[in-house]
């Protein structure tokens, strides 16, 4: 016979007796869990790769000098005051005392890398062709940890030094130049220099490929007339969604203008958030439907098993025992369905990831289900099973044995 706890034995026998009902509800839970696992993984991986792509070419946090504001002159007694204050034009400026402030940013908690940057507008010309560009003065070793430019090099090498420069693949095409060729760069500040193309990059954005010209800090400082200065400090943080909090903290500490990627990409973030909300809505409804399914199956089972419940009560089964028997059935439906559902969800992900591919043949999303999603789905399903079973279980426990037997 049997050695397991009696509640388990009774619960499993009852489920086996109503095996059609049990099979149907487990199938229902399976489909529900599969939908949740599939959708969550799909959306999570799509969002992650989208964020990855966006953050692939920008810093998580950018520190800039505070904006210059026009102040009213304190009004002397009796003198008139101009009614209108003209906003000041923002000229290119260096972060004041940046070398002293730098350790405060690079060493801030949550920040994993920092890199000073001198950037400003200029013109790149070859022969009669002239293009408007953004000069980016960098320290190549530090900048590599902000934007993985070294992995985006399509020709030449990731080398910035002396008058060596990196340009984008579009600019190279526009100017008709390649690795080793020269180009002349001029700025509004009157700077002028001749650079050598050491490498050509493709960061995945045509606009950036057309505009960015990477040179050394010193070259950019000279061209933009900012000797010894930097226009911004780029930071990378450990957890990308902490960026906003860290930025606010640093801004309060230093008085500089500190912006996170979450501010500069507010639209993207809103879109991601909406996606997450709609996914949560779908999940909520699926959970509700699963719960109602389990509930209704158990309610029917309690009615069908009235007589047996009455007999068990007359044989000495306490109300709690009867309650546990039905709670266990709910939990088992949840557990069995969630295990099968996690499996089905994984299969669906694999199937869909082979059907839908990027233009270059790589899968749009990775079919790997994180153990966390699995665990959350299983625990949720068990809890939902228990909660859904609560009402029928209480009903079963409150059955009056005498009535149950008489009507049996």
């Amino acid at each position: 016979m049997i050695a397991a706890p009696i509640e388990w034995v009774i619960a499993l026998r009852f489920m086996r007796e109503g095996r059609m009902q049990s099979a149907l509800i487990i199938t229902g839970v399976t489909v529900g869990v599969a939908v949740i696992v599939f959708l969550t993984t799909l959306i999570d991986t799509l969002q992650a790769s989208l964020i990855d792509r966006v953050l692939g070419s920008q810093a998580h946090i950018v520190v800039r000098p505070p904006e210059e504001v026009a102040r009213r002159v304190p009004a002397a007694a009796g003198s008139g005051v101009t009614a209108r204050v003209e906003p000041r034009a923002q000229r290119l400026r260096s972060i004041d005392q940046w070398e002293n402030l730098y350790p405060q940013f690079s060493g801030a908690s949550g920040v994993t890398a920092a890199s000073p940057l001198v950037s400003g507008p200029g013109f790149a010309a070859r022969g009669s062709a002239s293009k408007s560009v953004v000069l980016m003065g960098i320290d190549p070793d530090r900048y590599r940890r902000i934007v993985k430019l070294d992995t985006d090099i399509v020709a030449g090498a990731y080398r910035v030094g002396g008058t060596d420069a990196l340009i984008g693949i579009e600019l190279a095409a526009d100017l008709g130049i390649g690795v080793g060729d020269k180009l002349r760069v001029t700025t509004a500040e009157g700077g002028e220099d001749v650079l050598t193309v050491a490498g050509i990059f493709d960061v995945g954005s045509r606009d950036l490929n057309r505009r960015w010209v990477f040179v050394t800090l010193r070259v950019a400082q000279t061209l933009l007339d900012l000797p010894g200065g930097v226009t911004s400090i780029d930071l990378v943080v450990e957890r990308i969604f902490d960026a906003q909090g860290i930025a606010e903290r640093l801004q309060a500490q230093t008085g500089l203008k500190v912006e996170s990627w979450m501010q500069t990409n507010a639209q993207l973030l809103a879109a991601l958030r909406n996606q997450t909300i709609s996914n949560s809505l779908i999940r909520t409804f699926v959970v509700m439907i699963v719960a109602l399914g389990i509930s209704s199956v158990l309610v029917v089972s309690v009615v069908q098993k009235q007589k047996e419940i009455g007999i068990l009560r007359a044989m000495g089964a306490s109300r709690q025992r009867i309650m546990v028997v039905f709670l266990l059935q709910g939990a088992t439906f949840g557990l069995a369905g969630s295990l099968a559902g996690a499996g089905l969800g994984t299969v669906l992900l694999h199937v869909f990831s082979t059907i839908y591919r990027n233009a270059d043949g790589t899968p749009i999303f990775s079919p790997e289900v994180s153990p966390r999603v699995m665990a959350v789905a299983c625990v949720t399903a068990i809890v939902v099973g228990l909660v859904a079973a609560a009402v029928p279980a209480r009903r079963a426990a409150s059955l009056d044995p005498a009535t149950a037997i008489r009507h049996g």
Partner: protein, 238 residues
């Protein structure tokens, strides 16, 4: 013979209390059963037999009065204590046997013991097989109720009722659903347990022939005890 197994003190039972259709089914029953008695409870339909059996079996609580099982006042106990007292002290045999169809004969017999202990073990299994052997069904231990005849099912039910060696066994029309041969077998079995183990039996029956074979007959009419006498006198006196 002085050991009292069951005592009812002024037991009343009403249904639909506080509604316009309130009705009192039992009007103050006093009754004492001693150890080893074999008693028939008779009366026409609606006389309150089933209600009284439910009260004695602690399946329902009286509206007034006391129900004592082996000297313990069950009306003073909470729900869990009543369930435990019922499990230990009272065996039930119903007209329609009421076995749990999802379990084998042996598991059905072991059920009260398993419910008491929370799980099964070797001792319980041995006890179940021994009881099945005593009702002559050792060979059918692993069949489910659906595979047994009506008489066999009732014998399994009797074995189950005896699993705790309860001092009191309640039987509601135990032979009402059986042919005469099976009915005689079931009755003989109960008689044997009564004589050998001294178990007190309270049998509800419509069958006067069966009632006459008991030691004492209690007749209910309209919720009161009409007659309470040793068998042989009760029916003649009517």
């Amino acid at each position: 013979m002085a050991e009292t197994v069951l005592r009812l003190h002024g037991v009343r039972k009403s249904y639909n209390i506080g509604t316009p259709v309130e009705v009192e089914v039992l009007h103050g029953i006093d009754l004492t059963l001693e150890r080893g008695e074999f008693v028939a409870l008779i009366g026409p339909s609606g006389s309150g037999k089933s209600t009284m059996l439910n009260l004695v079996g602690l399946l329902e609580r009286p509206t007034a009065g006391r129900v004592e099982i082996t000297g313990q006042d069950a009306t003073a106990l909470d729900e869990d204590a009543v369930t435990r007292l019922r499990g230990r002290s009272i065996g039930f045999v119903f007209q329609f046997h009421h076995l749990v169809p999802a379990f084998t004969a042996a598991e059905n017999v072991a059920m009260p013991l398993m419910l008491e202990r929370g799980h099964s073990d070797a001792a319980i299994r041995a006890r179940a097989l021994e009881l099945l052997d005593r009702v002559g069904l050792a060979a059918h231990a692993h069949k489910v109720p659906g595979q047994l005849s009506g008489g066999q099912q009732q014998r399994v039910a009797i074995a189950r009722a005896l699993s705790f060696d309860p001092p009191l066994l309640l039987a509601d029309e135990p032979t009402g659903n059986l042919d005469t041969v099976s009915a005689d077998e079931a009755f003989a079995l109960m008689r044997e347990f009564n004589r050998r183990a001294g178990i007190t039996f309270l049998l509800v029956t419509h069958d006067p022939r069966l009632a006459q074979r008991c030691d004492r007959i209690i007749e209910l009419l309209d919720g009161s005890v009409l007659r309470d006498a040793p068998s042989g006198t009760a029916l003649e006196a009517r």
